[in-house]
Amino acid sequence: MSATAQRPPVAPPIEVAPDADPDNRLHPVTDPDNPLRRLTPEQLERLGQELDALHEEVYADLGERDARYIRATIRLHRQLAVGGRALLLGSRRRGLWIAGTAALSVAKILENMEIGHNVMHGQWDWMNDPDINSQSWDWDTASPADAWRHSHNYEHHTFTNIRGKDRDLGYEIMRIDPHQRWHPVYLLQPLYNLLLMGFFEWGVAMHDLNFEAIKSGEKPKAKALAELRAIGLKARRQAVKDYIAFPLLSAAASRDRNAFKATLVANFTSNIVRNVWAHSIIFCGHFPDQTYTFSEREVENETRGGWYVRQLLGSANIDGGPAFHFLSGNLGFQVEHHLFPDIPSSRYAEIAPRVRDICRRYDLPYNSGPFHRQLGAVHRTILRLAFPGGRVRPKQGTYGEAG
């Protein structure tokens, strides 16, 4: 039925010069190893057209099966949430505590990643559904929807991996790229990275506020205050729900005062589990060794094709099975997500072979690796770059079958 499910057509590789731009005139890319330099403007334009056509093909095919998928996922989240909360009414019993905490953690992960992140990207706006909609959705994390949509959908997805413009590069508190100038405060980054892992949603909410813009006056004080209040409201709601309402309910249901604490700890644990998982998946998206970063000058007058290549070079995938991808909001397909942020996440696995084929033909890298390797590279970098110096890691080269 869908064309996306077919085998990719086998086409010969495109002829690319070792360096189509030795004098640095076509692209201002200065890194001589950057694969962008191997492509002529004509090739870039064709690449852009191919990827546009792929986007169009998927959008033309969206329909009932996609709508069923997101509804089923939302229903599963709600069932898991109800199930987990119900199990935790008996939180004084060890087995129930473990099962309830596990169910609740998975529910929160689904709600945050496969549902919240993707719905708020507008991946499901084509359904014209008033609820499953980027403009009306709210999620169970600390970030108010509006502020997150601006800092993530707009800033990060438009300026991906441009140093000085993509504030998600190290989230302004970490040195994640050797191009960033070292400062003694980075000595502490392995430590506060651990904190960020556990309390990732709060880190993201603070990040959305954009202290730099507030300081420089770019963001009006009133707006900043309103956003801060919105975060406060979300914080209060989460605290009331997870640390007062449900613990009280457990205590009342089991007529055991200690159940209050047991449920509170369970809920806290599930928030931490969700945060650690989200942090791990998201850090693997752009910070493993093989990704490239760009200076502002390197992306001056960028074309549509150039934009696509930057997304490709700046993102990294995680290998995994269907369950892994489901639980990571399909962000293991970070490359596909960054090329097409508004394609429904459930379609990324289907188009991945096509994107790989394009990479092969244009002699571009397609970054992917097992979870432990990508995550290992991320934490190695965070450790290494806490100290002065550091070099850009050697890249895996052009597209290989290993990808």
């Binding site: 546009d52 169009e56 969206l62 329909g63 009932e64 099966r65 996609d66 709508a67 069923r68 229903r75 709600r78 069932q79 109800v82 909360r85 990207h121 507008g122 706006d125 084509w126 359904m127 014209n128 559904d129 008033p130 609820d131 909609n133 980027s134 403009q135 009306s136 709210d138 999620w139 169970d140 949509r149 601006h150 959908n153 707009y154 997805h157 438009t158 979300k234 709601r237 989460q238 009331v240 729900k241 007062i244 309402a245 449900f246 309910l249 549509r304 934009w307 942020p341 508004d342």
Partner: protein, 381 residues
């Protein structure tokens, strides 16, 4: 934001209870969990469950719906906005309610006409099954009988124009007020005539209801001359007329020159002929050929919330044209990826500058940075 159904009025106590339970469900509402048990319980949005789908004629289908809590009823002659999902996408259409508002079983009914090549009516006609959940918008329309009803009535209907009048007749039959009514009804053929048996049975059983049926494929259209012949005292009657715009034009002219236009009441289905259903008006669903909206390069852009009118030559996206006209519009990447710039289309069609595809239905969320108007549009920004 996409169109949503009517918000049911909820008793204050109920509202307070929901808010309290909301402490356990935030950021969701308790309704989001309750609707997993029964979608009709939602207090966020009025819904209905389809309980019957009945082929009324060769080209019309009656859909019987059990409305959820909060349905406030309708007056005969009014229409309801209906939201249905077709191939994963929500579409909204307005249809006249054809049921008696006081049906004993509490259900409501609509009777859309099939428009070949349309989006919604073929779905209702061929694929809709009992059990489906639909969204219900507000009940609207001023094509209603006053209370008490006028002593002498003339009803004129053509095609699916019968739909609002069917509700009137059913209401009057229940309250035993079917006296002194002349009804001129046109249909193309006997196979396409809606409610034919029911209308004839009424005519046979109730002396006060006189039906004159006309099959236009065989006998031609209704003319003012025939009005004189079939209903000589039409000047003394309050007339309720519903049908294609051609018929309405001719009859309005006749009432203006020969009768008292104040006694003629017309339901004009909006000729939104650029909708893929041919027409989107109440119950019409393609019954009429409209005047057409100019298709060409660009068009005017009414920014409803900003109260600014902009113009695009067809190359400028809505966002750019709006900004040039001085509007402050939400925007982000300006390349169609971030959805920061979306605005709700109120009317008109747009062209996606990336693909050249012309699209757009009222209520749809558009990215203003990659769409240009195709003819005049209104957008809620």
């Amino acid at each position: 934001m996409s169109e949503r159904g009517a918000v049911p009025t909820v008793a204050p106590l109920h509202r307070r209870a929901l808010r309290l339970i909301g402490s356990f469900t935030s950021p969701l509402s308790p309704d989001h969990y309750l609707e997993m048990l029964n979608p009709l319980w939602s207090t966020l949005e009025l819904r209905g469950r389809v309980e019957g789908v009945h082929r009324e004629s060769a080209t019309a289908v009656t859909v019987t719906i059990r409305p959820g809590r909060g349905w406030e009823g309708h007056l005969p002659g009014q229409y309801v906005r209906l939201g249905v999902e077709v191939d994963g996408v929500h579409h909204w259409r307005a249809y006249s309610l054809t049921s008696d508002p006081q049906r004993a079983d509490g259900r409501i009914a609509i009777t859309p006409k099939l428009v070949p090549g349309g989006k919604v009516s073929p779905y209702l006609f061929r694929r809709l099954r009992p059990g489906a959940i639909v969204r219900l918008g507000g009940v609207e329309g001023t094509f209603v009988l006053p209370t008490p009803r006028p002593a002498r009535l003339l009803l004129v209907s053509a095609g699916s124009g019968i739909t609002p009048i069917a509700s009137m007749l059913r209401g009057l039959a229940r309250t035993r007020e079917l006296d002194n009514i002349v009804h001129l009804h046109c249909a193309r053929t006997a196979e396409e005539a809606i409610f034919r048996d029911e209308l004839r049975a009424l005519h046979d059983r109730r002396a006060g209801y006189r039906l004159h049926e006309r099959l236009t494929a065989a006998h031609g259209r209704l003319t003012p001359a025939e009005l004189e012949r079939l209903c000589p005292d039409w000047r003394e009657r309050d007339a309720y007329v519903c049908g294609p715009s051609g018929l309405l034009r001719v009859l309005s002219e006749h009432w203006r020159t020969e009768g008292d236009p104040a006694r003629m009441h017309v339901e004009r289905f909006q000729p939104l002929d650029w909708l893929d259903d041919g027409a989107g008006g109440a119950g019409a669903d393609g019954a009429m050929a409209g005047d057409g909206v100019g298709c060409g390069a660009g068009g005017s852009i009414d920014l409803c919330a900003s109260n600014i009118r902009a113009h695009s030559d067809g190359r400028q996206p809505i966002l750019v044209a709006g900004e040039q006209a001085g509007a402050k519009l939400p925007h982000g990447c300006r390349m169609g990826i971030c959805h920061s710039c979306v605005g709700r289309l109120r009317s008109g069609r747009v062209r996606d500058l990336r693909t050249g595809r012309v699209h757009g239905t009222p209520g749809e969320l558009l990215r203003t940075c990659v769409n240009a108007p195709e003819g005049p549009i209104e957008i809620e920004l």
